[in-house]
Assembly symmetry: D3
Homo-oligomer: 321 residues x 6
Amino acid sequence: MPHIFITDLKPGDKINQFFLIKRKERRRTRTGKDYLDISLADRTGTMAAKVWSEALDQFDPLFAEGQFAGIAGRVESYQDELQLNIERIKGIQHWSSEQLDLTGFNPDHLIPATGLDIPSLWEDLLTWVKEEIHHPALQALTLSLLKNNEEGWKQWPASKIYHHAYKGGLLEHTFRVVQLAREVVKLYPELNQDLVLAGAVLHDIGKLKELEGYLSEHNTYEGQLLGHLAQGWEMIRKAAQEISWDDSRILTQLEHIILAHHGQLEFGSPVLPQTREALMVHMLDDLEGKIKMMTDHIEQDRGEEAFTDWHKVLKRKMLKE
Amino acid sequence: MPHIFITDLKPGDKINQFFLIKRKERRRTRTGKDYLDISLADRTGTMAAKVWSEALDQFDPLFAEGQFAGIAGRVESYQDELQLNIERIKGIQHWSSEQLDLTGFNPDHLIPATGLDIPSLWEDLLTWVKEEIHHPALQALTLSLLKNNEEGWKQWPASKIYHHAYKGGLLEHTFRVVQLAREVVKLYPELNQDLVLAGAVLHDIGKLKELEGYLSEHNTYEGQLLGHLAQGWEMIRKAAQEISWDDSRILTQLEHIILAHHGQLEFGSPVLPQTREALMVHMLDDLEGKIKMMTDHIEQDRGEEAFTDWHKVLKRKMLKE
Amino acid sequence: MPHIFITDLKPGDKINQFFLIKRKERRRTRTGKDYLDISLADRTGTMAAKVWSEALDQFDPLFAEGQFAGIAGRVESYQDELQLNIERIKGIQHWSSEQLDLTGFNPDHLIPATGLDIPSLWEDLLTWVKEEIHHPALQALTLSLLKNNEEGWKQWPASKIYHHAYKGGLLEHTFRVVQLAREVVKLYPELNQDLVLAGAVLHDIGKLKELEGYLSEHNTYEGQLLGHLAQGWEMIRKAAQEISWDDSRILTQLEHIILAHHGQLEFGSPVLPQTREALMVHMLDDLEGKIKMMTDHIEQDRGEEAFTDWHKVLKRKMLKE
Amino acid sequence: MPHIFITDLKPGDKINQFFLIKRKERRRTRTGKDYLDISLADRTGTMAAKVWSEALDQFDPLFAEGQFAGIAGRVESYQDELQLNIERIKGIQHWSSEQLDLTGFNPDHLIPATGLDIPSLWEDLLTWVKEEIHHPALQALTLSLLKNNEEGWKQWPASKIYHHAYKGGLLEHTFRVVQLAREVVKLYPELNQDLVLAGAVLHDIGKLKELEGYLSEHNTYEGQLLGHLAQGWEMIRKAAQEISWDDSRILTQLEHIILAHHGQLEFGSPVLPQTREALMVHMLDDLEGKIKMMTDHIEQDRGEEAFTDWHKVLKRKMLKE
Amino acid sequence: MPHIFITDLKPGDKINQFFLIKRKERRRTRTGKDYLDISLADRTGTMAAKVWSEALDQFDPLFAEGQFAGIAGRVESYQDELQLNIERIKGIQHWSSEQLDLTGFNPDHLIPATGLDIPSLWEDLLTWVKEEIHHPALQALTLSLLKNNEEGWKQWPASKIYHHAYKGGLLEHTFRVVQLAREVVKLYPELNQDLVLAGAVLHDIGKLKELEGYLSEHNTYEGQLLGHLAQGWEMIRKAAQEISWDDSRILTQLEHIILAHHGQLEFGSPVLPQTREALMVHMLDDLEGKIKMMTDHIEQDRGEEAFTDWHKVLKRKMLKE
Amino acid sequence: MPHIFITDLKPGDKINQFFLIKRKERRRTRTGKDYLDISLADRTGTMAAKVWSEALDQFDPLFAEGQFAGIAGRVESYQDELQLNIERIKGIQHWSSEQLDLTGFNPDHLIPATGLDIPSLWEDLLTWVKEEIHHPALQALTLSLLKNNEEGWKQWPASKIYHHAYKGGLLEHTFRVVQLAREVVKLYPELNQDLVLAGAVLHDIGKLKELEGYLSEHNTYEGQLLGHLAQGWEMIRKAAQEISWDDSRILTQLEHIILAHHGQLEFGSPVLPQTREALMVHMLDDLEGKIKMMTDHIEQDRGEEAFTDWHKVLKRKMLKE
C-alpha cells in the first residue's frame, strides 16, 4: 500500500502507514485527562495527532519523538484543519524487516527536507571559504568549524517554525546568506571582506546546539536557556583556542558579528552592530529570512484571491500575482 | 415563505431562502481539502457559511461574490456562533422571475444599510458646501468631487469592519464629521473654515477606490497596494487639474489634510498634521469613529451585565447603563 | 455520593452534585440564541458550563452568581477542555436540609482557597504593625484599616485571574509582601521603615472595593470605573480623617505609595514612584506577584517536558526541573 | 521711567524696574558654587535670571517666589536667549509707596494673563450649568464646586508650561472645552448631555490643588505626589458628600470622567474611558489643548520662513501661512 | 588670497572670502532681538554663522539663501564648535568680475559634492535600464523619468542631513541601490527583476520635489506638507499617463514599491511592503543608507580612540579600527 | 599647599595640584581644532577639563589616562558647571619624590571610592559562600571565581556612570545584592537557595572584563563589542571546566542566571528569565541599583526645594524630605 502524503489526506480517510514523530508530549487537560499530543510529519508537511486515554498507556512506551512509527487511525476535521485520531502506534523498532517491506516503508518519504542539493551547496561553501577568505586564521577557523560540524550542518533546520524549518534548512539558509554576502561585499571594498564572509558562514552556527535537529520541534535544554547567539559565540571562541588564535582584534570582531547579528536588543542581540561588517551580516540575514518567509507564504496559500491570508509574523497580507 | 433574518436563526434550523454573498473564497485546508468559505449577509447582520467538497464543483460556478443567491442548508453551532452548512446554492441569475416571486425575494431585506435618509444627508452636504465654503476654487473642487462620485458615495461603506461597515456608511460617516466640523470650527475663527469643511467632506474620499463596495468585504487590488490616503489625494489633484486650479497653497493645504488625517505615522499617514486645520479634521474623524464603535458595541452586546464584553480594537469593556 | 472534584472529571461523566457559581452571564450568540455562560468552581479549580435554550427560562430564576447550586449534567470535551452541559440546576435555597444531607453537601469542598492558615497570618500582620511601625499615627491608621476591614481581608482574592485568585488570596499576598518588606528594609536603614511597612500592608487595600469577592469573577461597578488604586487611596484618606490625622507630609507619602505602587504609568499608576519607599513597595509587590505566577504555572503544568507551556502574561516558557 | 517689557529687552540693556518672581530656587553648581536661579515674568513673557555669589546672601532674604520685586541688573545673551544678571533685588515690601509711585509700579504690567474677559467667561459658565445641566444633583454638585472654588478658578493657569500657562488660563481652557462640549453633544443625543457638560466643567478641577498658582511655576507638595486626576476626583467626592448625594451610578460615572480624562494609561489616567461621555470629554480636552499649543507656537515664532521651528511636545514643525 | 577651507579654520581667524549660503533665516530671540541665523558651506563642510543686530538691516538685502556670498568676519568658538561672527556680507551679484578675480573666487571650492563621476554614474544607470529592464513599458517609463529629470537628478542631494547630503548625493545613492539590486536580484530569479530594478532606480525620485536642492537645507513648501513618497508616486503616475500606460497590475506594483519603500508605517510608508520586490527595494535602500551613515561617521570622527563618538541617529558608537 | 577638593572649587580659582585622569581623549572640533577632552577626578567627584591648542603638543605626551597628574590651570564657569582650563600638566612619573612631598601628594584624596570597608565585605562574601551554598560544585565554582578575581573585584566600579561608579563599587553592589538575596530567599524555600546565592554573587562578574577599571571611564575593546553578560557567562564556563564540572543542569541554570539578569531583551539579555531563581536575581539587582540611584540623586541635589531636579535615567523628580 503506497504512502498517502499528508497533503493528500481527507477527513474520513482511514490510514495505516509510517510517519515521522516530530513532537510527542504527554499532556493533561486542565480537567485531568491524559493524552499524547503529537506532531507527525512526512515530506509534504506536518499534521497534528492525538492518542486518547484508553490506548494511552499501552502505546506510549512503544514509540518516541524523533522516530519513525507505524500508525493506524482516522483522519478527522478539527477547526478547519485535519487531525489524526490515532488508534494504534508502534515505533519502527517494533517492526520486523518483513513487515517494513510489506508496508513499503521508505524514510525518504517521511522527512521534510530542502529541495536543494546538499553536497553541492557544501562544496561551494568550502570552496568560497578557501578561495575568498584571505586572512589565514579567519580561513582556518571557518574551515575547522565547518568540517567539525559537517554532519549536523548538512541536516539541521534553520529554525523550528519561521523559515527553512526542514532537514538541510540551516545549510540552505547559510548558503543563501553567503551568496548574498559575496555579491554585496564586492560593492563595498572599504569593508573587510574576509570578516563579512566568515560572519555570513558562521552567524547561525549556534543553531546546531540550540535545536534538537530536523527530527524534532524542540530546543535543547541548553538552547532554551542560553540561546544560539551565546552558544555560537562560544563555539567560535573554542575553535579559535584550538587553532591557538588568540588576542586578535579581528577575532573579537568576528565574535561581535555573531552576538550582534539579530541587529536589535529587542530581537535578542546583547549588543548592537558596531561595525559595518556586523551590520552587513545582520541585514543580509534579515533579508534572506524575510524574503523566504514571503515566498513560502505565497506558495502555500491555496486561496484563489490575488492576496494571501494574513501572515502572523510579518503582520500583513501579500500579493500572489 | 418569509425570509428569516440572520438574527432570528437558531441551531438546527433548515432554511431555503436568499442572502447576499459578501465574500466568497475558495480555500484549501492545510491538508488539501477544498471548500468555499463564504460570508452571507442580510439586513440584520452577517453569518459564516461553508460549501464542502461533494457539492463544491457543482455549485461554485453558479454564484459569485456580490450577488444575491438562493441557498438551502442547515444552521449549525460552531464555537458559540452559528454557521450555515450549505447544501444547495444558486445565484439569482439562475432563478426565473416566477421562482423569485414564489420565494418572496426582496433585495431590501438582504443588504445591511444605514438607517439614515441618504438623499437627505446628501442634500444637506451639498447645501453646506455651497453655502459655507466661501473660497470659490475650494467650493468648486469639493462640489465637483461630490457630484462626480455621487453614486458610489451614497452607497459605499466607510470601512470593511470597524465602523459604518454597511451600505451608505461612507456618507453617514462623512456627514457626521462635517456636522462636527461645522459646529467646532465656529469656535475657532482663527482657523480657515473653508479648509476645515472641505477637508471634512473629502477626507475619506479615497475609500471609494480602496474598497470594493457594500456588496463585498474585500479591498480592490489598487486599494490593497496603495491605500485610501494616497488614492484620495490623487483624486483631489486630478479634480483640481480638471477645474484648472493649480499652484495654490490652499490646494496644497487641502491635500495635506487628506494625507495627514490619520494623525500619526503609525496609523498610516505619511506626514503628521502640520496645520491646525489638518489636526482638526483628524481629531474629529477620530472622535466620530470611536464614539460610533462604542455605540455599536454597546448596542450589540446581548449580555445582562452592566459592562459589555471586551472590545478588541478599543481594548476595553464599556459601561452599558 | 461523594463529590467528584473538577480535576477528576472526565468526558462522558454524568454528574449530580453541588458547585459554586463564580460567574453567571446570560448571553446571546451573535445570531440570537440565548444561553447561560457559567463558571463553576470547587476547591480544585474552575470549569466552564452552559445552560442551553430549552432549560433556560425554567432554571435561570433558580440560582444566582456567588451561590452554591446543585447541578445535573454531562461532561463534554470542547477544544481540549472539559465543559459541563447542564441539564438541571437549582440554587441551594431550593434544597431542603434533608436533601442536602443526602447529597453530602460540604461547602469546604467547593471554594478555592489559600492553603495557608488565615488566622495565623492575620495575627502576624497585626503583631508586626503594632511592634514595628513606630510612628504613632501611621500605626494607628494601619491598625484601624486592618480592623475595620478584617472580615473582607481574610476572604478576598488578590486578583480575578493573575495570581492569588482564591479565597484568602489578598491576605496571603499582603502577608508575603509585608514579610519581604520587613527583611529588605532592614538592609536600607536610610529609608523610612514605618512607611515601607505601612505601604506594604495597605498597598492593595482598594481590592476590597474593586473586586466582588471570592465568590465571583467580576469587578464591582465602582471598581470597574475607578480602579483599586484610587479606591485604596480614598480608604486611607477617610481613615486618616477618622483618626483626625491631617496635613501631614508622612500621610501624603503613604498616599503616594498607594497611587504609585504599579510602578509605571502604563500599568495604571497615575504617578511614578518619587520616593524610595514607594519604589520599594512597588518592586516587592512586583517580585511577589511574578514569582507566584511562575510557581503556579510550573505546578499546574501537566506535561512531561522539561519546560512548561507558554505563559500568556509573562510571555515565556519556564523550566520545571 | 516706564516698564520695558521683556519682549523689548536687548542684550546690553541695563534695567531697574519691577518683575514678578515666578520661580526662585537656591541651587549649587556641581562644583559647589551657590546661586539663585530665578524665573522672572511680566505680562509679555518670562526670562531667566541669576543672582551670583557676592550679592547672594545679602539679597536672598529680601524677596520670595510669587512676589513682585524691584530689580537692577544687566541683560546678557546666553545660548541665543536673553538672561538677566541681577545686581540688586528687593521684594515689594521693602519699598515705600513713594518709591513705588516714582518707579511707576503697575502690577497689571507684570502678570501674564489671559486676554479674555474673566468675569464674562465665569458668568457664561454658571449660566450654562444652570440652564443646560438638567439632572438636579449633577447641577447642584457642579455649581457648588464652581462657587466654592471661584477665586482660584478665575486666576489659576491650566498648566505650568504646555498651554494656558498664565493667570486665568484654567478658566479659559475650561470655558473652551465646555463650549466645545455644548456644541458637539447636541449631535450625539444618545449620550448623557448632563454628564458631558459636568465632566467638561470639572475635568481639570484638580489643577487647583496640583499647581501653586499663577505666581509660581511649581507644583504643590501634594500635587507632585498625587497628581490632579486623583485630587480632582477627591474634590468631587467630597462635594457630593456635602450635598448628601451618594450611591448614585451617575455620580460614579462623573468620577470616572475625571479619572479617565487623559485617555490612556501612559498619559496618567489610572483607567481607560469606558463610557462615551468619558471618551468625549477626553477627546475635546485633547483637541482644545493641542490646537492651543499650535496656535501659540505659530504666533510666537519670529522667523520669516513658511514653517515654524520644531515643537518639542508635538514633535513637528507647523505651517504659519 | 587662497580660500581657507572650513576644516582648516581656527578660533580667532579673521577671514574675508566666499562661501555658499545654504540656509538663511531671520530669527528673533525669545526676548526680541533680531539676527540672521546662517549655515555656510564650502566643499569641506558646513559652519554656523550669525549676523547680529547693527549690521543686520544693512546686509540682509544683499544676499540670499542658495547664493555665493563674500563674507568678512571672525571665527569664534561656541560650545566646542566654531562659529563665524559675520561683519560684512554681500551676495555675488554685488561683486564685479574684477573683484571676483582678485579674490580668487572658485565655485568648485564652495559646494559640497559627491566624489564620484556624475556623468559616468548617469551613463551606467541609463545603460542598465536599457539592457536589464526587459518589460517594455517599465523600461520606457523609467527612461522617460530619468531623462525628464536629468538635470536635477545629477545635482540633488539624497537628504538634508542623514546621508548623501551634498550635490550629486541623490544620484550616488540611487546608483548604489541599483548596483545592489542588480547583484542581489540575480540570486532571486523568482522575483520580477524588471520591477526590482525600476523600483531601485525610482524609489527616491520624489526627493526632487521634496528638497529645495543642493544649495539649500530646506524642504519645499509641498515637500514639507506632502512628503517625497506621495510626491514620487505621483511623478510615476503622471509619467505612465504620458506614455499612455494604464490599468496595468505591473504599474500598480511599481507604485506600491515607491509608497512602501520606507518599510514600516512609523517610518512614513502609508502601506507595508506586500510584495517581495517592494521588500527587497526597501531593504537594499536601508542597507545602503545605514552603511553610508556608518562610513561617514567613522571617517569624520577625529578622536584617537578605537571607537567613535555616539551617533545620534543609529544610537551607538562604532568601531574605527 | 593642601589639595582643594573638586566640590570646593569656585570659578576664578587658580589651582596647582594633583588629580586622577579618568578619561583623556584627543578630539578635533568639527572645524579642525585639536584639543584634549579630559575628565578629572578626586575623591569628591569629577570635573571636565580641556587642554587647548598651544599647550597641546607639549603636554600630550606627558600624561596618560588612568594616571595621576599635576595640573596648573584656572577654574571657569561653562554652562552652569565648572570646567578647568589647563595651562600645564605632567604625569606623576615626571615628578621627583621631593616635588611630590612638597605638593603634599596623597593618592587617597584623588580616587572616588566606596565608603564601605572592602576587606570586611570581602570576608563576609566568602563566609556566606562557604556556609550557605551547600551544593559542592556550585560552592567550589563560586569560590574559585571570587579568589581568582579578588584583586579586581575589590577595586572595580559597578558601572561607568549609573550607580556605584567608583573604586570598590562592584564589590559594594555585589555585596548588597547578595545581602538581599540571603534574606529574600529564606522566604521562598521552594527556590534553589544555592543557585540564587551563587547567581547573586556572580551576576556582574563580566564587568571585570567589560570595564577598564576604576581609573578610567572607558569600556575595554572586548567589553564594548561583546558586553558583560556574554563575558561573565564565559568566565563561568571556563571556571567550571577548570574544576571539571560539566554537563550539569545546575550549571546551565547558573549560566542562565548570568545571561538573563537584565530581565528583558531590550535591556540586553539575550534570553528572558525562565527560572524563578533567574527572575529573583534580576529583580534584586534591579531593586538595588534603582534604590542606589535614588539615594545618590537625593544626596547630591543641592537645591532647597522639597523635590530634586529631574533624574535623566529614572525620568522623574524625587522627594527629598
